[in-house]
């Protein structure tokens, strides 16, 4: 079966009434879980898994996959409206999305996020449909040294995540790196910076930190203005993106999609990393990067496209090799196995109805999500009309419930509140949260791949420079760091002679 007839077959499978129903249920639940902070796709799919035992395998897999990519759609909503990232993959969306909402442009931000998601998700699917096998072979070329080099590249982009002082961004990144080291050592399982606190053994969770630094800090910030009585009224101007918005966001979507497309394929990469890289890239290529962090629509379009493209393409290694590239798909792998289906090279031959049915359902699912999300925008925007003294306590309540729902652990609430206070103080003194989160997410991967690489080479650093992909990425990130310094020195030199 070639790709086109396969797709037509898949659409015919997915359009069967019962399967269409499951696409809808999956997308709806995904949106809902995305909107609610705290509980993410992993928890949701695991809880729903036993309920799918009675379903036909096609319907079950379609629904669970729908939850996964539906979450990527819904996650942006609370990021934009109240600065609370619904998912870790939506942290970056807070930076410009929330600023847009404060300027009364929540509608356009939500609209661009939904459309960018649709565009990127569909583009990712086309890649999945046509290039699945060659792309999965490329993904396998990435071993520990390649990941290390790639993550180094991610670090070199860190200062682009703040719009203030670069040295302050670096300080926050270092803090994030230190915090990411808390917990049991990943190789020797010795304690590090746990101070004997049992809850720190597994490290600090990303979700409570992100919710604290962004959402809770914002609430604290607003408590200050509430008590002083100077509440600024947000005037909601438009509900849909204007022509200028589209023009500005167009290429950001394409670039975000490209980044997400590639990083989604890599096991261990995934949507979260893709959003950070896409945002940094967008800022780097922008003509006037100072607009970022102050409500630039590209800052919403690119990460939201990136996480959806990554969600689509992460199915490539999953379906073609049976390798789940992230935890969500690992849970989904379990779901497949329960239904007696083994993802891998034989899937397309042995279970064409599953493979093509899933691909077909994802095309339909992306349309369903747009239909589901666009009419909700006017409703969501109404949230901003709620008086601050009611809205912010509600937001805080949502965060508290959300943090608790991750592990049913009160400790996560404590972490969130502490980071809320930290975030609030940082903001007062001009330090931003985003570089901290990026370093915090990348830190463990950075460390573990570095140590794995050295284990592979028996301690020799040459491993980072003798493998072509790793070498290329190392040189590129070195260039990214050295070039601005060189330029700066050049300008200074000119300044003194001229």
């Amino acid at each position: 079966m070639d790709a086109l007839s396969g797709l037509l077959y898949g659409l015919s499978v997915a359009l069967r009434p019962e399967n269409l129903f499951f696409v809808f249920v999956g997308c709806f639940l995904g949106t809902l879980i995305g909107v609610l902070p705290g509980i993410g796709p992993v928890g949701a799919i695991s809880i729903l898994l036993p309920m799918t035992f009675q379903l036909a395998p096609t319907g079950a897999t379609i629904m669970l996959a729908g939850i996964y990519y539906g979450v990527m759609y819904g996650g942006s909503t609370t990021s934009i409206l109240v600065n609370v990232p619904g998912e870790t993959a939506s942290v970056v969306t807070c930076l410009d999305g929330y600023q847009m909402a404060r300027q009364g442009r929540a509608g356009p931000a939500l609209g661009i996020a939904a459309f960018g998601s649709f565009f990127a998700g569909t583009a990712g699917l086309i890649g999945l449909q046509l290039l699945a096998n060659p792309l999965s072979r490329i993904a396998l070329k990435f071993g520990p040294p390649e990941y290390f080099a790639l993550i180094l590249l991610g670090f070199s982009l860190i200062t682009h995540l703040s719009h203030g002082s670069k040295s302050k961004a670096c300080i926050m990144a270092l803090l994030g790196l230190i915090l990411s080291g808390v917990g049991l050592d990943p190789i020797t399982s010795r304690e590090r910076m746990t101070f004997g606190i049992l809850n720190l053994f597994e490290g600090i969770g990303v979700a409570p930190v992100a919710m604290g630094l962004f959402g809770v800090a914002e609430v604290f910030n607003n408590f200050g203005t509430l008590s002083s009585g100077s509440i600024e009224k947000i005037r909601i101007t438009k509900l849909l993106p204007s022509k200028l918005d589209w023009l500005q966001a167009k290429w950001a979507m394409v670039r975000g999609t490209a980044v997400g497309f590639f990083l989604g394929i890599l096991p261990g990469g995934g949507p979260v990393l893709a959003t950070f890289v896409a945002y940094a890239l967008e800022k780097r290529v922008a003509k006037n990067p100072e607009r970022f962090g102050k409500g630039a629509i590209e800052g919403v379009a690119s990460p939201e496209s990136a996480n959806n493209a990554a969600a689509s393409t992460s199915f490539i290694p999953f379906l073609t090799l049976g390798i789940p590239p992230n935890i969500v798909l690992a849970v989904l792998l379990g779901a497949f196995m329960i239904h007696g289906i083994v993802p891998g090279p034989l899937l397309i031959r042995d279970h064409p109805e599953i493979f093509w049915g899933l691909v077909g359902s994802m095309y339909i699912g992306n349309v369903v999500l747009v239909i589901l999300n666009l009419p909700l925008i006017p409703l969501w925007v109404q949230v901003l009309r709620i008086p601050s003294k009611i809205l912010y306590p509600l937001v805080l309540l949502f965060c508290l419930v959300g943090a608790f729902s991750i592990n049913n652990n009160v400790f996560d609430i404590t972490v969130m509140i502490i980071f809320g206070i930290v975030g609030w103080l940082c903001r007062r003194y001009g330090y931003e949260g985003a570089p901290l989160i990026l370093a915090f997410v990348l830190g463990p991967m950075f460390e573990v791949n570095f140590r794995r690489s050295l284990l592979m080479s028996q301690g020799s650093f040459s491993i980072f420079f003798t493998r072509p992909i790793a070498f290329g990425a190392m040189i590129f990130s070195l260039g990214l760091v050295i070039f601005p310094i060189y330029k700066l020195l050049g300008e200074r030199f000119k300044g003194t002679t001229g």
Binding site: F142, P186, I187, P317, G322, M337, G344, L346, N408
Partner: protein, 333 residues
């Protein structure tokens, strides 16, 4: 006025006394009448949702629900390699038998055998085992069509290039890591242990040629084995694994290595033995019915019932292995 207050106080006191008495009586009666079907059995799974331990726990929960005729609620409490979940179980559980722990090896063992982890509990002193129900042996696989055709090839290569042959495990001190340690010891080699904690990372590293062998549980290898991407060389059990047809045991090749993940149930020490017996009998009864075997097969987990006593003996054996590894690590450090 004063008299009325006194009377009120007396009333409260009396009511409290009655309540306490009822509670005490309920406590003594409970062992004989366990399970009270109107109550809920709370089951602690000391890992997050998803994953092998959780799946096994949810499966046995539905078995108990049917056999005991009562509602079973699963609580996931992950973190610290089961340490957080077990600690919380012990702090929340009474000895009335209405809170049960998914006590699996070796994951429940490692925290308390390693002095650096400062776990406050120990088997026997704090946890009693009721029954073992599931069993998943470890195995070793390589990329199909690669350098290694047999376990002997792999071991010989490791002998010729000390430290250069690399094997994967999902984390330090988990069963697949322990199987690698035992193989190293049995064959007198040093296969470098590399950890890939996310599911799928191990396979990607193996297929990409970044490592030489994947050490994993039998059910993790079914897919790759079926599709012909990987080849399982040996299973570390006394008998071949049902999940991996055609794969011989390492023992039959001269390497005396046995390691598996075993799944069972435990109660807080002090729980009446009668309650443990009821649970043991319920699981034994269910294991003879095809439904339980079939539902377990779906997740690739073999049903293997061990009585409380047998499970205890098996557990002690694994404790010794973990203890040796911990000591070895301490020496190296």
């Amino acid at each position: 006025m004063k008299a009325e207050k006194c009377r009120k106080r007396f009333g409260v006191l009396l009511a409290t006394a009655v309540c306490v008495a009822v509670l005490l009586m309920a406590g003594t009666v409970s062992a004989a009448s366990w399970p009270d079907k109107s109550k809920i059995l709370t089951m602690y799974v000391a890992s997050g949702a998803g994953g092998g331990s959780d799946m096994a726990g949810r499966m046995i929960a539905s078995v108990l629900e049917k056999e005991l005729g009562m509602k079973v609620v699963v609580i996931n409490k992950g973190g610290g390699g089961s340490q957080i979940g077990v600690t919380e179980f012990l702090s929340k559980s009474g000895t009335d038998g209405y809170t049960v722990l998914c006590a699996n090896t070796p994951v429940t063992i490692s925290p308390y055998m390693d002095p650096a982890r400062k776990a406050t509990y120990h088997l026997g002193k704090d946890i009693q085992l009721a029954v073992g129900y599931g069993f998943s042996p470890c195995a070793v696989a390589v990329k199909k069509g690669g350098k290694f055709k047999s376990l002997k090839d792999l071991v010989e290569a490791a002998k010729a290039n000390p430290g250069k042959i690399k094997g994967t495990a999902s984390g330090p001190m988990v069963q697949n890591d322990l199987s690698m340690v035992l193989l190293n010891k049995a064959a007198g080699v040093e296969i470098a242990r590399m950890y890939f904690d996310q599911q799928g990372e191990q396979r990607a590293a193996l297929l990409g040629g970044h490592v030489d062998a994947e050490f994993n549980n039998d059910f993790e290898l079914i897919g790759g084995n079926k599709s012909g991407e990987i080849e399982t060389l040996a299973v570390f059990d006394k008998t071949p694994a049902v999940a991996l047809p055609g794969v011989k045991t390492a023992e039959s090749m001269g390497y005396n290595v046995h390691m598996a993940a075993a799944y069972g149930l435990g109660f807080k020490t002090g729980t009446p033995q009668e309650i443990l017996d009821v649970v043991e009998a319920a699981v034994i009864r269910a294991s003879k019915k095809p439904e339980m075997v079939e539902s377990f097969q779906k997740i690739g987990l073999g049903v293997k019932v061990m009585t409380g006593k047998e499970y205890r003996a098996y557990w002690t054996g694994i404790e010794n292995v973990v203890g040796d590894v911990v000591k070895g690590m301490a020496v190296k450090k």
